[in-house]
């Protein structure tokens, strides 16, 4: 597999890899419906939330206090909205040893799948012919495989919410800044463009039920209001969502 690297090299030469405006930002699996108040349990794996500020020089300065606050706020907001949707949020137990390595591998796979979705199904200029056809037929068919059922905490939940920060070092310095500034579930502070993906995965089949790959998000997760706004945006296309899409625009 060499082309991936060739692409990364090419990306380093031209700052913008994927124009955010040119892509769709989320999709739901064709056969998936989640009725409101269906009482599903959603497992969340250690959301990697990082918050910082941007100095005049354009440098991201990570801030631990903000990060802690944001993590608490986002967790609370997730619970609140999922409760409104009639779902419960469960935080995955801390994993060690073999479990931790297995989880890490699944996280990496989720990242690779999300990138493939964005690169080859969402991004207009680069769609694979078979994915173009899928788009026409409203097919969104991706999976992490049934081994997700063995992840820590999976037995006690229906779905898992995977959260991934795109690898910051895939291309240029500018990109690095953008991504370092990204927090959690595709949620970001104001520091340029942010790419992060959040996806809902069926814990029995591994099927990707819903993917949000929004490049532009608002709301300040350091504040309770901001976190709620962020999570509302994140979940506005969430299956079964009755959240008001226009509330924060």
């Amino acid at each position: 597999m060499f082309r991936g690297i060739a692409l990364a090299v090419a990306a380093a030469l031209c700052l913008v890899v994927v124009p955010v405006a040119a892509q769709e930002k989320s999709a739901v699996r064709q056969d998936f419906e989640l009725a409101s108040n269906s009482g599903k349990k959603i497992l969340v794996f250690h959301p990697s939330v990082r918050v910082g500020s941007q100095s005049t020089g354009g440098i991201f300065e990570p801030n631990a206090e903000w990060t802690d606050r944001a993590r608490t706020n986002i967790q609370a907001a997730l619970e609140k909205y999922q409760k409104q949707l009639g779902n419960a949020v469960i935080t995955a137990p801390e994993a060690y040893g073999e479990d931790a390595r297995n989880l890490e591998e699944h996280m990496q796979l989720f990242g690779a799948v999300s990138q493939a979705v964005i690169e080859y199904q969402f991004f207009v200029g680069n769609r694979l012919p078979t994915k173009k056809r899928d788009n026409k037929a409203n097919i969104f068919d991706w999976s992490l495989g049934a081994s997700v059922a063995d992840l820590p905490g999976a037995k006690d939940a229906d779905y898992a919410l995977f959260i991934y920060n795109k690898d910051a070092f895939g291309s240029t310095g500018r990109k690095v800044l953008q991504i370092l500034a990204a927090v959690g579930p595709g949620i970001a502070v104001k520091s340029g463009e942010h790419q992060g993906f959040a996806g809902l995965v069926d814990l029995r089949t591994g099927n990707l039920l819903w993917l949000n790959a929004d490049g532009q998000m608002g709301g300040d997760p350091r504040e309770v209001d901001g976190s709620e706004k962020r999570v509302r945006q994140l979940l506005e296309d969430f299956p079964g969502s009755n959240l008001d899409k226009d509330a924060d625009k």
């Binding site: 597999m1 591998e105 690779a112 690169e119 591994g206």
Partner: protein
């Protein structure tokens, strides 16, 4: 349909996507869901003295070459050191190597595993034959989680369908 600008022709049993960018002069890459998830690469007749893929820098970062003396049993090592040198990785191992016909000639089939910079362990399988002094090979690379098993059957069907026209 012919692949990699060569005399190799395959009859796919399902739809594949051909990527516009290739790793080298005599190669071509197909995928189902994106090359990071399933990657079939055709090496359509690598001539003696040539590397498998294009070198970043012939002088500073040379890749190992297929030579007129390369034995078919050495092809797995050639692919291994090409991956290792190109990706600068330390984790690659050939899991099995066995005789298998390819393109109607005596050849080799081998399997391997590696982890490169995205930290996602992958499995691979390849079929190769040396025909009239040139190396013909098809490789399949995919994450060892789910994706390898999911499409390796399609890859094998593709290998089986491959002929030299």
């Amino acid at each position: 349909m012919t692949v990699a600008d060569s005399a190799v022709s395959v009859t796919p049993s399902r739809d594949w996507n051909r990527l516009g960018v290739s790793a080298g002069k005599n190669t071509e890459t197909w995928t189902l869901d994106g090359d990071q998830l399933n990657d079939v690469t055709f090496y359509g007749g690598i001539a003696a003295g040539k590397p498998l893929i294009k070198e970043r820098s012939k002088k500073k970062e040379p890749l190992p070459k297929f030579t007129k003396d390369t034995l078919i049993v050495e092809v797995p090592e050639l692919l291994e050191s090409t991956y290792r040198a190109y990706k600068q990785i330390g984790t690659f191992s050939v899991a099995s190597t066995e005789p298998a016909e390819f393109l109607g000639h005596e050849g080799v089939r081998f399997t391997y595993t590696y982890t490169d910079s995205d930290n996602l362990p992958r499995k691979g399988e390849a079929s190769a034959a040396i025909i009239k002094g040139s190396l013909y090979m098809m490789t399949f690379d995919a994450p060892r989680l789910y994706y390898f098993d999911q499409a390796v059957g399609d890859f094998r069907a593709l290998v089986k369908s491959a002929i030299l026209t």
